[in-house]
Each structure stands twice: as structure tokens, then as C-alpha cells.
């Protein structure tokens, strides 16, 4: 393993230590993704050996010929080896030995391309790493979706075998769910969380970088499930089917919990940063909506995801050393898993929705050239959604036979969530009132998001209603519903965010014409893919089946062809993204949208430490059209009295 190699790290928090010269070693001898890969391979082999030794008595785990203990330990040591190879523990080791922490990386001055492939502590590097990583996740998951739609072209003829189909369904759904929970919080959250509140850095740069570097490992582990024939449970992993499944299930459990740990780390970091690292004058009442969404989402992640990790840990115990946590006949309960999973799973759904609300609320005022309408109601809406999301999880289990007498309660709480969600629409409608709308690409995506989420949200009310849910539960209606909220909501917001913020992140404009073509193809084919699914579900087609009634073939074919075209629109995006950033390279202005957000007041891309001086925030970022509105920020030499005014009233928060 590569631990002896000269390590790489950023300046110590506080930065008081003397700086050693940057390592003179060539890039291939410094810890980066390639040494991490070597570490991962060594780690897996070691863990597998250890597991075969420890688990020799447990060879016959259900119907598998593999020893699940060996697979799980292999994965765990793979993660450890991956992190050691990356050099995550180098500084820790140095501190334990009493040596000074290495400053070889001196992130602020390092502008080399190689830092994007290393354990780099700069939040702007981590943001771009996340961006590329999440797009990779998304496109891989999308390819699996293409396979699903290919199989569903015919009700009887099978392109994939039954087991291949389940493998593809499981990989698609789990990969997408893992990706969606970080798709905005990762790239934009990490990149803009400090800049939007006027900070130079995140509170815990090491935790932040660790959060990202767990995601490639989770990606590889989840995909490695294919080598074992995949897992048959979809993303929900219901017991006892997952006890019965072969070793692909271990890949699911380890990869999903690993992504969960990454989410916990990222959320924890963001909470601490927002509370402690706001610039003077950045009062709670001046926080941008995107910051509010990241803040509420982080609380959900820190509190909900541990339940998932615990649930999956119990599953791994059942599968390896043969406990019976979820086995009904041996005193366990399969209901326990359903409860644990959805107790995480429903806040998770809002972990996927809230970042989208934040992004579109950020885009809207800029291109309406108006202040955000009812700012406080919008922020309250996010809090309301986050809070209520804890009280609704049993609506996934209306027909399961758990607590039937509690169904009216869960129906009520679920329907109540549409009130704070409605606040987000109130904000949008009010902001549009007599606005001067500019149809830029980010604005188009924001509008698309409001359209799609409206359909997703209204069908959610249909699902919350128990009698209607008896027909809709577990059918393609549910598929349509959550693709409308997650893909139509979050992914549209994500692409809006890409077109809005990438000029700031990379200092390069994305082609607008291609962007518009991307939007219109994506919007049209998205709707024509997923709108028929509501009809399919109501006509009696269950989820995750490869055979369906022959009279449903025309609709299924329509959805499949639309899905292929939807996949094609992603290629337009990819072409635009790659050509704009690598070949055309049109330099972006510092503030191309004439936005008032703090992130737009610095150069594109932002300077190494974001701000030359710690900024003093003088007003909220949405005061478009307000006469004599003070500038958003001042440096440390503003006119006399301005700083004092910014502090006044901020009280202890400033």
C-alpha cells in the first residue's frame, strides 16, 4: 500500500504552522486515485481471505455458494485500503507520531489539474469532483434505465432473462437513489455553501473531502454486484427476500450504507458551517433560499440516514453470521425492516425534494428581476416539509397489515405535507407576479421543475389517500409519481443549477443554444415517458415486472421510445458540457446574470480563498428593483458607518 509515500494535505485549520515546501515527487508517486485503487484491491483480497477464515462455519448461507462473510469483509477492507491509498490517514499518523502536519499541498496556490484526482481539501475542488462524480452516477443509472425500457418493449418476448432484469432494476434504482441524495448537496452544496455565506472554507475540510471520496468506492462496490448476478430486491431491499438472495445483496448493503455515511458526513459539515462560518452581516434573515434548503436537508440527512445504516447492518448480520433479526419464524420480524427502511426512506424522499426547491428559488428572482416573494414563508415551508417528513413513513405500508387503525393518521400527516410544499409554489407564483421574465436556460429548467413537480405533488395526494392507494400502491402509478418528483423535480433543478452555476465554477460559459435544445428535448421526452406510467399503473401494471397484460403494450412502447429519446437528450447535454468546457472555452463574466447573490460578487472562477477580505454583508440577495438597495457586500474598507449598520440588529448572530 502507498502509505509510505510523501503525503498530501492542506494547511492546518488555523494555518499557524510553518509551511514545508511542496513535495517534489512526481504525480504518480503521490497518493491519488491510482494508489487508492491499488489499496482497494489489496484491501479486498485481504478482507476476503480473512472472511473465508472467520466464516468457514457459515459456508451455507441460504442458496449461495459464496461465503457472505468473505464478501462483506472484502468490501469493508476495500474501503479501508481505498482510503489509506488516498492518503486520508497520513496526517493523522503524522500527528500521532508528533511530526508536523504536511503542508505539501498548499491548496490555495495549487492550481494543477492533478489536485482533482487527489484527496484535496479545497471545497471548490470537492464541489467539482462531486459534479463529475454525480454526472457519472446519473449516466450509469440512466443506462440501466434504458435496459429496463428495452425489456418492457414487449409483454412476452424477453431480451433479458428474469434474473438479469431484476439485476438491472436493482442497479438502476439503487444507483439513482444513492446519487440523488447527493446530486445537489454534493456539487453545489459543497461548492457554494461557504461562498454564499461569505466564508473562505467549510468547517471540516477533511470530513468534506472524505465524504466525496467515499462515493467512488460506493459506486464501484454497487456495480460489483453485477459480478455476483445482482440483487433481486430493488432499492428497498425488503426482507426476507434479501436474506434469501445471493452475494449481490452484500454489494447493495455495503454500498448503500457507505453512501449513507457520506451523506451523514456532508450534512454534519454543512450544519456546522452555516451556524459558525457566516460572514458579518449574514443574518439568518438574509440567508439565500438555497442555503436554507441545504440547511434543512442536512438535518434530515444527519438524523435519518443512521437509521438506514443500522437497518442494513442488521441485514448484513442476518446474512453473514446468521442472526434472525428479520426472520419471522425465528423470532425476528420482516416488519422491522420495513419500518426501519421507510423511517429513513421517507425523510430521504424530502432529502431529494428540498435541494430542488432551493435551486429553483435561487434562480427565480434573478430571471424575474424581482425580489423573492414571501421569503419567510418559503423558508418556513422548507422547515415544515423537513419536520413533517418524520411522521409519514407508514404510508408506504398502508396495505402491509401494520397498524391498520393508524392509517387515518398517516393519511392526514401525508396530506399535511402538501401545505408547506404549497408555500414553495406560493413563492414562485408571487415572484412571477408582473415580473420581467428572462428565458435563460436556467430559468427554463426552473419552470420545467415547477411544472413537473406540480404533477408529481398532486399525484402524491392521490397516493396519500388510503382507498385510492389500494389501487395505486406498488403499481406504475407510483413509478410515475416519484419519477415526476425526483427526476422532474430534482434533476431538472440540478440541470438548472448546472447552467446557472457552472459558469461561476469553471469560469466558462455553456453553449446557450445547445442548452435550450437540451431543455426542450428533455422536457418533452421526460413528460412523454412518465405521463403514460400513471395510466399504466391505474390499468393494473405492477412495478418491477417483466411480463404485463398485452393490451398495455402500446403505452409501454410509447414510454420506451420516449425514454430512449430522453436518453438521447442527455447526450446533447454531455456534448455541450464537454465541448464547452474542453474545446470552446468561452470565458464567463464574473456576473453574467447580473445576480445579487454573494457568489456572483467574486471573479469566475472564484479566487483561491473565495474572498480577499472577509466580506461584510449589507443586504439580502434578492433586492432586485429596490431603489437605493445597498450593495450585497462590502470589503473591509466600506464607507464609515456602513459596517456598524450591518452589525446593528444582527446581535449575537453576526
Amino acid at each position: 500500500m502507498a502509505i509510505e509515500i510523501q503525503p498530501e494535505s492542506a494547511q492546518a485549520p488555523g494555518g499557524g504552522e510553518p509551511r514545508a515546501p511542496r513535495s517534489a515527487r512526481p504525480w504518480w508517486l503521490r497518493p491519488a486515485w491510482h494508489t487508492a485503487l491499488i489499496g482497494a484491491v489489496i484491501g479486498y483480497l485481504f478482507g476476503h481471505l480473512l472472511g473465508n477464515f472467520l466464516g468457514a462455519g457459515y459456508q451455507q448461507v441460504t442458496h449461495s455458494n459464496d461465503n457472505d462473510m468473505a464478501i462483506v469483509l472484502g468490501y469493508l477492507f476495500l474501503i479501508l485500503g481505498w482510503l489509506i491509498g488516498l492518503g486520508v490517514f497520513n496526517d493523522l499518523g503524522r500527528q500521532m507520531l508528533g511530526r508536523p502536519i504536511s503542508h505539501s499541498g498548499d491548496e490555495a496556490d495549487d492550481t494543477s489539474l492533478a489536485r482533482y484526482f487527489r484527496y484535496t481539501l479545497d471545497h471548490k475542488v470537492v464541489g467539482i469532483q462531486y459534479l463529475v462524480g454525480m454526472i457519472t452516477y446519473f449516466l450509469t443509472g440512466g443506462l440501466f434505465a434504458m435496459a429496463i425500457r428495452t425489456e418492457l418493449l414487449s409483454p412476452t418476448y424477453h431480451v433479458l432473462s428474469a434474473s438479469q432484469y431484476l439485476m438491472v432494476v436493482g442497479e438502476h434504482s439503487t444507483m439513482m437513489m444513492m446519487m440523488m441524495s447527493s446530486v445537489v448537496l454534493g456539487p453545489f452544496g459543497q461548492y457554494f455553501a461557504p461562498i454564499m455565506i461569505g466564508s473562505k472554507r467549510m468547517a471540516f475540510p477533511r470530513i468534506e473531502a472524505l465524504g466525496f471520496w467515499l462515493t467512488p468506492a460506493a459506486y464501484v462496490i454497487l456495480l460489483s454486484g453485477v459480478l455476483f448476478g445482482g440483487f433481486p430486491t430493488g432499492w428497498t431491499g425488503y426482507e426476507p427476500l434479501s436474506d434469501q438472495a445471493t452475494s449481490g445483496m452484500d454489494a447493495y448493503a455495503v454500498a448503500f450504507s457507505l453512501m449513507g455515511i457520506s451523506m451523514i458526513l456532508a450534512g454534519f459539515n454543512i450544519i456546522v458551517t452555516y451556524i459558525n462560518y457566516r460572514a458579518p452581516g449574514m443574518r439568518w434573515s438574509r440567508l439565500p433560499m438555497f442555503v436554507w434548503s441545504m440547511f434543512t436537508v442536512s438535518f434530515l440527512q444527519v438524523l435519518a440516514v443512521p437509521v438506514l445504516v443500522a437497518g442494513l447492518y442488521l441485514m448484513v448480520m442476518d446474512r453473514t453470521w446468521q442472526t434472525a433479526n428479520y426472520v419471522n419464524s425465528l423470532g425476528g420480524s420482516s416488519y422491522l425492516y420495513e419500518n426501519l427502511f421507510w423511517f429513513f426512506g421517507h425523510p430521504e424522499v424530502y432529502i431529494l425534494a428540498l435541494p430542488g426547491f432551493g435551486v429553483v428559488s435561487e434562480i427565480l428572482p434573478v430571471f424575474c428581476r424581482k425580489p423573492l416573494f414571501a421569503y419567510k414563508v418559503g423558508a418556513a415551508g422548507m422547515f415544515g416539509v423537513a419536520l413533517l417528513s418524520w411522521f409519514v413513513w407508514q404510508h408506504h405500508l398502508f396495505d402491509s397489515g401494520i397498524n391498520p387503525d393508524m392509517r387515518p393518521l398517516y393519511m392526514l400527516t401525508t396530506e399535511l405535507i402538501s401545505i408547506p410544499t404549497g408555500f414553495i409554489y406560493l413563492v414562485a407564483l408571487g415572484t412571477f407576479w408582473k415580473a420581467k421574465v428572462i428565458f435563460s436556460v436556467p430559468m427554463l429548467f426552473a419552470l420545467g421543475m415547477y411544472f413537473n413537480f406540480l404533477i408529481g405533488g398532486i399525484t402524491g395526494v392521490f397516493l396519500s389517500d388510503v382507498p385510492a392507494d389500494v389501487t395505486e400502491h406498488g403499481s406504475f402509478f407510483v413509478m410515475g409519481h416519484f419519477h415526476y418528483t425526483i427526476m422532474g423535480g430534482l434533476i431538472f433543478a440540478f440541470f438548472g443549477g448546472i447552467y446557472y452555476w457552472v459558469p461561476k465554477m469553471l469560469g466558462i460559459e455553456l453553449n446557450e443554444r445547445l442548452g435550450k435544445i437540451h431543455f426542450w428535448t428533455m422536457f418533452i421526452f421526460f413528460n412523454s415517458t412518465f405521463l403514460p406510467m400513471f395510466a399504466l399503473g391505474l390499468a393494473g401494471m405492477p412495478r418491477r415486472v417483466f411480463e404485463y397484460a398485452t393490451n398495455l403494450q402500446p403505452l409501454n412502447d410509447w414510454a420506451s421510445v420516449s425514454a430512449f429519446l430522453l436518453g438521447g437528450s442527455m447526450l446533447i447535454f454531455l456534448y455541450n458540457f464537454i465541448w464547452s468546457t474542453l474545446f470552446w472555452r468561452v470565458k464567463a463574466a464574473a456576473n453574467p446574470w447580473e445576480a445579487r447573490g454573494l457568489e456572483w460578487q467574486v471573479s469566475s472562477p472564484p479566487p483561491p480563498e473565495n474572498f480577499k477580505f472577509i466580506p461584510v454583508v449589507l443586504s439580502g440577495s434578492y433586492d432586485y428593483g429596490v431603489k437605493d438597495a445597498p450593495p450585497v457586500m462590502a470589503d473591509l474598507n466600506p464607507p464609515v458607518g456602513v459596517v456598524a449598520a450591518a452589525y446593528a440588529g444582527a446581535g449575537l448572530e453576526a
Binding site: 433481486p232 416573494f373 419567510k376 391498520p404 408555500f423 389517500d465
Partner: protein, 312 residues
């Protein structure tokens, strides 16, 4: 919605926007609601084959009627906004600095809350009145049909087929679900291995089949004809092929079928485990074991050898 009717008062030009929006919205909503409830409503799934199915159909129609003005309101507003409130060429001034409007915000909150609470009350009524709306109610159902003449049918799910036992007909186990018309039915749904879900689509019945748990659902078929039964919870390899077709017959036809089948299956029934609400598939009576080994029957938990075909 609240936005249009309570638009901020101002110069006449502004007032006209609100009025135009309100008129378009009201007209479109009235037409939309009439179309959804009266034209589309009677054709909504899952049809009216049973009491629970028609309850769900009614419920979907009501939800659709309430959703129509909401969806139309937002869409008309957005359509109006992008049509009339776009920035003109070369105009790079900002819009009016409206930060909020207490009256609009308050009426929005009141209107949405009222709709939501009304929906919850209506949903609860539709759930309780027709005996649990056809959903699985667990082992001790609290909402039952108002009659003592209830046909008991046990649904046994296993990978990857349903079988049905009729305790009132000697505990016979059939591979086809046959029901009499206009008689209340109690489904006792259970599983021998993993979680399945018993979904009789046209009957509007859906209940999870959990191993070791009895999950009860009620319905009353109202029309004769055939219906589809599908597994609605991912249960492994052949989940996609786990379906069959059931039949609702006239009462006399059902009686004839039941008595004939009971006699036909008497020998096999003797080899089955005694009728119970849940089963342990590892416990098979001796006679049953012999019959299964001879290949004479697969009933009683032996449809598939657990190792064949192997799980993915």
C-alpha cells in the same frame, strides 16, 4: 386560486391582470371539473366489480375533481406569466420590488389547509365506510362488513404462485380463485416464504402477504366475470410472472363449483396441513411428504424445490 382572487390592488392596469386570470381560471375549472367527475369518473379504474373497487373509483373521481382547479390554476398562472410578463427586448430594468403581501399569503395558507383537511376527512370516511376499502388490515381487522354471512378465503402466496383455501369447504386448496357474487368475502392473506402482495385488481383488493402473519382484507363482488390477480411486491426471480385469473360466479354456480371441487380434491386435502391462519412451510404432514415425493401434488408448500430455480 387564492393568488388570483386576492391579487394586490393597485393601478387599474394591474387589477386587469388579476381579473383576466380569475375569469379564465373559473371558466376552465368549471369545465374541467364537470368533465373529470361526470365524463371521466365512471370510467376510472379499477371499475365497479366489487364494493371496494367502486369505492376506490368514487374516491379517485373526487380527488381528480378537487385536483383539477389546483392544477389548472397553477398552469394558467404560469402560462399567463410567461406570455405577458416577459422582459421586452433591450429592457434591462428590474421588476416591481414586491417582497410579499400578507393578505395573499394568509389566504393561500387558509385555502390550501382547508382543501387538505377536507381531503383527509373524506379519505377517512371512504376508508372506514366500505370496511377498510379493500386494503390489508392485519390480523385483527377493526373495520368489518356489516353481515355475518362472510365467505372465508385464504390466500397463500409463495414463490411464485398463489393458492387459495376454503375453510368452509373442508379446507380444500385450489389454484384458481372463485367467488360468489353479492356475498361478502374475507381474504386471509399469508405467505410461506418472502413478502408478496395479493392484488385482485378489478376487485380493488390489495394486501401484503407476509410470512407468518395473517393479513385480512374484505370486499363484496357486485358483478360476475373474471378478474386478474397479480403479485404486487417484488418477491424474487419470477415475480413478473406471478399472476393468475379469478372468477366471480352466480351464487348457485359457485355452490356447484365448490361442492364438486371439494369432492374432487378430498384426497389431496387430507394430505395438506390442517387449515390455520399461518403456516410453517418446514412442517409438512407425513402423508403430504409422501405425495409430494411421488409427484402427485405440489400443494401445501412444495410448488418449487427451494433450490430450483436458484435465486439470483
Amino acid at each position: 386560486m387564492a393568488e388570483e382572487s386576492a391579487s394586490p390592488s393597485g393601478p387599474p392596469a394591474e387589477r386587469r391582470d388579476g381579473l383576466r386570470l380569475a375569469i379564465v381560471w373559473v371558466v376552465a375549472s368549471v369545465i374541467g371539473c364537470v368533465l373529470v367527475y361526470f365524463v371521466w369518473g365512471p370510467h376510472l379504474p379499477p371499475g365497479a366489480m366489487s364494493s371496494s373497487a367502486s369505492g376506490q373509483q368514487q374516491d379517485l373521481a373526487v380527488l381528480g375533481t378537487i385536483a383539477t382547479p389546483v392544477v389548472l390554476g397553477v398552469l394558467i398562472y404560469f402560462g399567463y406569466a410567461v406570455t405577458f410578463w416577459r422582459a421586452k427586448e433591450g429592457d434591462d430594468t428590474d421588476g416591481p420590488p414586491i417582497h410579499g403581501n400578507t393578505r395573499v399569503q394568509l389566504s393561500w395558507i387558509v385555502v390550501t389547509s382547508t382543501i387538505v383537511l377536507a381531503l383527509a376527512v373524506y379519505g377517512t370516511y371512504e376508508l372506514i365506510a366500505p370496511a377498510g376499502a379493500g386494503g390489508g388490515e392485519g390480523p385483527q381487522p377493526i373495520w368489518k362488513p356489516n353481515t355475518s354471512n362472510i365467505l372465508q378465503v385464504q390466500v397463500i402466496a409463495q414463490q411464485w404462485a398463489f393458492t387459495y383455501r376454503y375453510p368452509q369447504y373442508g379446507g380444500m386448496e385450489t389454484t384458481q380463485l372463485v367467488l360468489p357474487v353479492n356475498e361478502a368475502v374475507q381474504f386471509n392473506v399469508t405467505s410461506l416464504d418472502v413478502i408478496h402482495d395479493f392484488w385482485a385488481y378489478q376487485l380493488g383488493v390489495k394486501a401484503d402477504a407476509n410470512p407468518g402473519v395473517n393479513n385480512v382484507a374484505y370486499t363484496t363482488p357486485q358483478h360476475t366475470g373474471s378478474f386478474t390477480v397479480r403479485c404486487d411486491e417484488l418477491c424474487g426471480l419470477w415475480h413478473g410472472a406471478m399472476y393468475d385469473y379469478g372468477q366471480v360466479m352466480s351464487v348457485s354456480g359457485f355452490q356447484a363449483w365448490a361442492q364438486q371441487t371439494e369432492t374432487q380434491l378430498a384426497k389431496i386435502t387430507a394430505a395438506l396441513p390442517a387449515y390455520a391462519l399461518t403456516y410453517d412451510p418446514t412442517v409438512v404432514p407425513t402423508l403430504g411428504k409422501v405425495l409430494v415425493q411421488l409427484g402427485l401434488t405440489g400443494a401445501g408448500g412444495g410448488f418449487y424445490n427451494p433450490n430450483d430455480p436458484e435465486q439470483p
